[in-house]
Symmetry: C2
Subunit: 226 residues, 2 copies
Amino acid sequence: MNNALLDQRLQRALGHTFVRPDLLTQALTHRSFGALNNERLEFLGDSVLNCSVARALYDAFPDLPEGGLSRLRANLVRQETLAEIATNLRLGDSLRLGEGELKSGGFRRPSILADALESLFGAVFLDAGFEAAQRVVRGLFDPLVARIDPKASGKDPKTELQELLQARRLPLPEYRLVGTEGEAHDQDFIVECVLAKPALRTRGVGKSRRAAEQEAARQACAQVRK
Amino acid sequence: MNNALLDQRLQRALGHTFVRPDLLTQALTHRSFGALNNERLEFLGDSVLNCSVARALYDAFPDLPEGGLSRLRANLVRQETLAEIATNLRLGDSLRLGEGELKSGGFRRPSILADALESLFGAVFLDAGFEAAQRVVRGLFDPLVARIDPKASGKDPKTELQELLQARRLPLPEYRLVGTEGEAHDQDFIVECVLAKPALRTRGVGKSRRAAEQEAARQACAQVRK
């Protein structure tokens, strides 16, 4: 598909047609491509995202205290979630990357995808105002907000596992890095979560050690709850 | 002055008249006063503030990279600045505090003032939308943005002092806590910044050790630059 068609498809998926297509182009331009890139737009878009998601959660959970809202938002706006949404939008196809990034598969890298998505929110804000940007964000995030179990209250899996074990007076888990895969710029970390009681080992893979730990904890939670 | 008059004065100072005065009241209610307080509004207002200031800086400094914008924003939205603005608005007069907080002078505490100001931004967002809230924020912050020296690039005084001394190959400063004043819940910290060369001692007072250090560093910077 050529660039114009890709841009059209992306704008349809976002539900916003740019008055200034140069802003769309800039939002899709990684710093490896040139000086007029998306870094400043990302700064702006990050705050648009945080504000729009804050409002969505404020309205959706009228009884949740501030701490719960903060936790839920941290879960929703983390890099993994943003990269997943960007992948669903096939944002990678539209990115403008420098030679080196292209060769090393930058269009699949979660950090690059997440940053570009935030930049798009910033670009819509500049293009048509906050309400328009909020509509785009809500279009993408409202389905995720609707799926939140308010009882889980947005705790991350490591916290959840720890509290689950403490409630049963069981020893706390240990996390061990058991290996890494891939080259330095695009590594996968493999972490084992080890429980003494119930005797259990689960594994998580992730783009950071922390992400791998969370994934391992998520699986351990599921096992312990069975 | 009675409450109704105080509320009117505050709305005039903010440049926003509430359609739903209950939101104004809630924004001014500290958690010590009751269950329907401003904590959730503060969560919302914090994101409105960050987004509005991000936009103000984005527009005001078209050539500043993302890192510089982040630093400038961190300086503008910190508690000290918010408390100062709240004090100028005489927000303390309108606060609803519990018995204990009233007695201990909570209406002068920077954290309570800063939180209430953020809550007001959240309340305006709910009352009349983002554009209205952004107008209120910009009304208060644009004068501060206009005063920013882009060359100082938003570095905090301690960082600035360190870089100033390093550039001249001079020894780094030492910070010493020389005392505290006031009761535990409302302390002032007094910190001395000591330079070996040029031989110099400056003092800073602040509500936290860090704030006092920054103030001492600010004065040292001014002296060294002379």
